[in-house]
Point group: C2
Chain length 126, copies 2
Amino acid sequence: MPRGREKITPLMHRVLQTLSASRVHLTAEEILECLEGVGRATVYRALDRLCEQGLINRLSLESGTSVYEYVREPHMHFVCRECGNLYDIPAEFASSLEQIMTKCGHSIVKTDVTAYGVCKNCRMAE
Amino acid sequence: MPRGREKITPLMHRVLQTLSASRVHLTAEEILECLEGVGRATVYRALDRLCEQGLINRLSLESGTSVYEYVREPHMHFVCRECGNLYDIPAEFASSLEQIMTKCGHSIVKTDVTAYGVCKNCRMAE
DNA sequence: TACAATAATGATACAGAGTCTCAAAAACGA
DNA sequence: TCGTTTTTGAGACTCTGTATCATTATTGTA
Ligand SMILES: [Zn+2]
Ligand SMILES: [Zn+2]
Ligand SMILES: [Zn+2]
Ligand SMILES: [Zn+2]
């Protein structure tokens, strides 16, 4: 049960469309470029609220920047340090993670499983 | 088998000492404060190289900043969105993660399992 | 409809974290 | 020792993201 404001403003809707259509992970700046004439602050506001409502997912990468994705199936991520590609890995640890955290007394809102290394393509190419 | 420069400079050593002694997760700026008279660039350089050599671990948080820790046992992290505390959770997914990623053809260098939510203390206090 | 209150938006100044450049200092090697 | 390479520090700079605030759009109501 999300507790934030549930309303979806016109701009939130456009951002959601952009992410849902792109099928990849986009940075805030990339989304900004897609939405011509829209102010930077507005895009960041929309992204925050969509995250709060659980409609999109923010991923904080090693590089310092965040990328956003439309929420579909739960999955993990793999980031290649050679080419920078970000791969969706279809597996789920959420339930077992939640168990462990619950034992510690914490309540989980979001889990984030990311691995870093060298992807198949880059390894082949070397 | 790390491939970076293996040498440890005097400053890298001081940074390593600082992290090893503190037993908590420190930001680059906090480390900078501990090491009076040391240049900002030097600290960031040292942190990068220590990460490459696998002696310390960088954690990229939702907040946009990174924290560093001395590498001890593998563990997961839990970040409380209320109080900001970062908890070490003693459990390990590395081996099963590695299996899955390997099936996808990628080779893992580092895994990062972090959950966000509300910690025990904050939940009690409400 | 007309009007007041509230919410959303955009321009822009601002802040924080981290990087780049370059010259000085230190370490190294012959 | 003396020249070469590495490390370091100061500070300018970049890049994400935030805060402020006036303008515009929406909403609710008389
Ligand atoms: Zn790659
Ligand atoms: Zn994804
Ligand atoms: Zn807490
Ligand atoms: Zn830790």
